[in-house]
């Protein structure tokens, strides 16, 4: 709704002021005719610089490792589809209950009320939640990027239409529109759910990309490309979007964490994953009253959601720092 102030130079006649601040990062300005290229021995491409900064972010690095382990365990333990995993128990079968089903060596996460192996169930739920989250992340990133880039680059009526459309989606509470769509798509399984969630979570990304594109399209290299007769498609794909990649990747990460929480919330409310499928949200919903009697049924799925979302958020933060290092550089 607030689209007026994303630092877009709305057609003011602005002549660039001459400034003499150093544009070089740290290196002292060279540039005589025979000047050698600075720093021959330590040259980093943009990507390498980003990676270097990312891996120095300890939180993000830890989060990445933890998330990697979670994903690997979730998919290899009970297998996926026809491929069997290394975990011996099946999430659909009911086993003899040991005691009240509390965690044991045989059932590390315990057993549910019917004797099912809770570890297998939680892994199954984790798989579904992760698949949905990543599918939603990718879809919403694509939709958001396309809409944001078109609006920001072409401006005019196209921008008005697209941004009003974005506003329409923003004014409806996300959970509400997701619930309505989730109810419609509930029968078509997780891919249907992932699809509709992707259709509603792109809005913030679209606005961010638009803002970024608005500023990028005024940059000199884009103007130079235009002046030489480069087609709009080529300008967008080769000059504008690669430079907006930071914003896009960071938002994509965050939209994954939004998607995880959204999916579990919907499943909790009963508008998401439908039985016999299981997600972490449905597990919590099913066993929330078990907190006092069988706390493990409550803790495991919740901790799983928390871990995944936390990891994704930390990775997003690390990426943001890596792409946009607001370091205090010494200026002269």
């Amino acid at each position: 709704m607030n689209d007026i102030r994303n630092s877009n130079p709305d057609g003011e006649d602005y002549e660039p002021q001459v400034s003499v601040t150093s544009t070089d990062a740290v290196g002292l300005a060279a540039g005589g005719s025979a000047a050698p290229l600075p720093g021959e021995d330590k040259s980093y491409s943009q990507g390498q610089l980003v990676a270097r900064r990312f891996f120095r972010h300890r939180g993000a690095l830890t989060a990445m490792i933890v998330l990697g382990i979670v994903i690997i365990v979730a998919f290899t333990s009970i297998g996926i589809g026809p491929i069997p995993g290394w975990w011996s128990k099946d999430y659909t079968l009911q086993y003899d209950k040991i005691g009240d089903g509390a965690p044991t060596w045989a059932y590390p996460f315990g057993q549910d009320t019917g004797g099912k192996d809770y570890f297998a169930l939680v892994m199954r739920g984790t798989q579904f939640s992760i698949i949905i989250a990543f599918a939603v992340g990718i879809l919403s990133t694509v939709v958001g990027t396309v809409i944001g880039a078109l609006a920001g680059f072409y401006r005019g009526w196209l921008e008005s239409v697209l941004m009003r459309m974005t506003d329409v989606f923003i004014v409806i509470p996300l959970l509400a529109v997701a619930a309505v769509l989730g109810r419609m798509a509930g029968e078509s399984g997780i891919w249907g759910l992932a699809f509709v969630l992707g259709l509603v979570t792109w809005t913030s990304l679209a606005r961010l990309v638009r803002g970024e594109v608005l500023s990028l399209r005024e940059r000199d290299f884009v103007l130079a490309a235009q002046a030489v007769g480069t087609s709009a498609w080529r300008i967008i794909t080769r000059h504008v979007l690669p430079n907006a990649i930071g914003v896009i990747i960071v938002s994509a990460t965050l939209s994954i964490s939004t998607a995880i929480l959204l999916e579990t919330s919907l499943s909790f409310l009963g508008f998401g994953v439908q039985a016999p499928d299981t997600s972490l949200g449905t597990l919590i919903n099913e066993y929330q009253s078990a907190f006092a009697t069988r706390p493990w049924l409550f803790w495991w799925p919740g901790l799983m959601i928390l871990t995944i979302a936390l990891c994704v958020n930390f990775i997003g933060d690390g990426l943001r720092d890596a792409f946009d290092p607001r370091q205090n550089r010494s200026k002269d």
Partner: protein
């Protein structure tokens, strides 16, 4: 400015219209409203189906049904609102009014709290960038917005309500609990206040000693079950608040402002003394609000009278001090009523519902009941928003602190406090207004779940029941309330934006 606002309202109305159309069509296509009847063995199912089709106008075209709904809403402008009927024939308008009041109460309270706490935390973390305190708040913020709300709600019910209720039946702290609490408090405060190692140690030790002694004294007085505060406590806290506000905004060196703030606190307490009989017995909401307004006006007047050359600053400081004093007074009255309240309701913190059924008490006890009912959902909603706000404030503040004008301010010889409060903070607030408005919509979404978990009959329930039954009228009512609230919030943000930033005033 007026033109600008009108244009925004116009644009928002169009957006709302488009969104309502989308919502309506999605809702009526989300399932089969007759499903339960089709599957039922009831002999008169056919008749019921016909009745329901008639009521929901299933035989008319969707456009006609939408137009019908829209013209009903349009009636609100002429005084005869018609939001339709539910699948069971209940008037939605009545339902909505009830639900909206409880939901909006919850959301507004959470938003206000989240803004205050979030912005304060954001500023503190920005000032103490890369300190242990900064890292802890950052980590907590990530934790809170990675938290599944419904899951956290269950935890909160268990630990903040059930365990507390068990504890308050006795109301005594074990000695080792006291020590742990005191250590934690000492550690936290030294991290927030910072300074040299020696100063940090002194802070921690002071806080530890204070908290330990206080808690043992409270134990001895059975304070947690029979708390009291007294007019002396009110005076103490108000004066402290006045000093703190002065220190933060004008600096203690500015004696005029300091004296103005102290006068306000003292006048507030004297006024409490005289109005106590009115307040403590059976007041009305109207009286309370009236007194509050009077208090604010008097405070600002004190600032104007004392202020001299620093009049504007003094008025701001006394205004804030006045508000704080008023709240302290209310807190004092509530604390005084706590033991009476415990007598009526032995397990004070509730986990279900927005008010205790058949609760019978005096005015302040009813207020306490409402407070204890709203406590848990508010905490939950606030936590998530605080996380967002503190992060945004932090980055906005850091950005501002790097600006040239902050360097100019420092080069004039201003202290860090003045640089931050006067030069950086106002500029940092500008982008935050937008974020707060944006976050409001997310909060409404969170409210759906919170209400479900805590069994509130609010907008969330209206929406959920409506959607389950493929019943458009309550779903659209939910949309209408939340959509308008979001639009209003955005408008408010725009106005705040213009008030903060002279560059876009027109």
């Amino acid at each position: 400015m007026l033109k600008f606002i009108l244009r925004r309202i116009g644009a928002s109305a169009l957006v709302l219209l488009g969104a309502s159309l989308l919502m309506f069509f999605l809702t009526i296509n989300s399932g089969d409203p007759l499903k339960d009847l089709r599957e039922s063995n009831d002999p008169n199912a056919a008749q019921l189906m016909a009745e329901r089709s008639e009521r929901l106008r299933l035989d008319d075209s969707p456009w006609e049904r939408y137009w019908d709904w829209l013209s009903g809403v349009g009636g609100c402008f002429t005084g005869n609102c018609d939001l339709g009927v539910t699948i069971n024939g209940i008037d939605v308008l009545g339902l909505t009014q009830q639900a909206a009041s409880s939901t909006l109460r919850l959301i507004t309270l959470s938003t206000l709290l989240a803004i205050v706490v979030g912005v304060a935390l954001g500023i503190l973390t920005a000032i103490r960038q890369y300190s242990g305190f900064d890292y802890s708040v950052t980590f907590s913020a990530f934790l809170f917005f990675s938290l599944p709300v419904f899951w956290a709600a269950t935890l909160l019910k268990e630990f903040a309500a059930i365990q507390y209720n068990n504890w308050i039946a006795v109301g005594q702290y074990a000695p080792w609990t006291i020590v742990i609490v005191a250590v934690l408090a000492g550690f936290l405060l030294q991290a927030v206040l910072g300074g040299s190692t020696r100063r940090r140690l002194a802070t921690a030790a002071g806080v530890f000693a204070f908290v330990t002694v206080m808690l043992f004294v409270f134990n001895a007085l059975d304070w947690w079950r029979n708390p009291m505060f007294g007019i002396g406590g009110v005076l103490l806290v108000s004066v402290a608040a006045g000093v703190l506000v002065t220190a933060l905004t004008a600096g203690l060196g500015n004696r005029r402002v300091l004296y103005a703030a102290l006068t306000t606190a003292v006048v507030g307490v004297i006024a409490y003394w005289f109005t106590a009989p009115l307040l403590v017995d059976e007041p009305t909401w109207l009286l309370l609000i009236g007194l509050f307004v009077v208090a604010v006006v008097v405070s600002v007047a004190i600032g104007a009278a004392w202020g001299g050359y620093a009049r504007k600053q003094a008025m701001l400081v006394t205004g804030i001090t006045g508000v704080i004093t008023s709240f302290v007074v209310v807190a004092d009255i509530l604390i005084a009523h706590w033991s009476g309240f415990l007598g009526i309701k032995s397990r004070p913190i509730s986990t279900i519902g927005s008010q205790t059924p058949n609760f019978d008490g005096e005015f302040w006890e009813r207020v306490l009941d409402m407070g204890t009912q709203i406590l848990l959902p508010t905490i939950l909603l606030t936590l998530v928003s605080v996380a967002t706000h503190s992060r945004y404030t932090r980055s906005s503040m850091l950005e501002t602190l790097n600006q040239d004008y902050v360097r100019t301010a420092r080069s004039k010889g201003l202290s860090e406090r003045e640089v931050i409060v006067k030069h950086a903070f106002r500029n940092a607030l500008i982008p935050i207004t937008t974020i707060v408005a944006f976050d409001f919509a997310a909060l409404i979404g969170g409210a759906i779940i919170t209400e479900e978990v805590f069994g509130w009959k609010g907008m969330g329930a209206l929406f959920q029941d409506g959607l389950n039954a493929v019943d458009p009228a309550p779903v659209m009512a939910f949309f209408l309330v939340t959509g308008i609230a979001a639009v209003l919030m955005n408008l408010l943000a725009d106005i705040a934006y213009a008030a903060l930033d002279p560059r876009i005033r027109r």
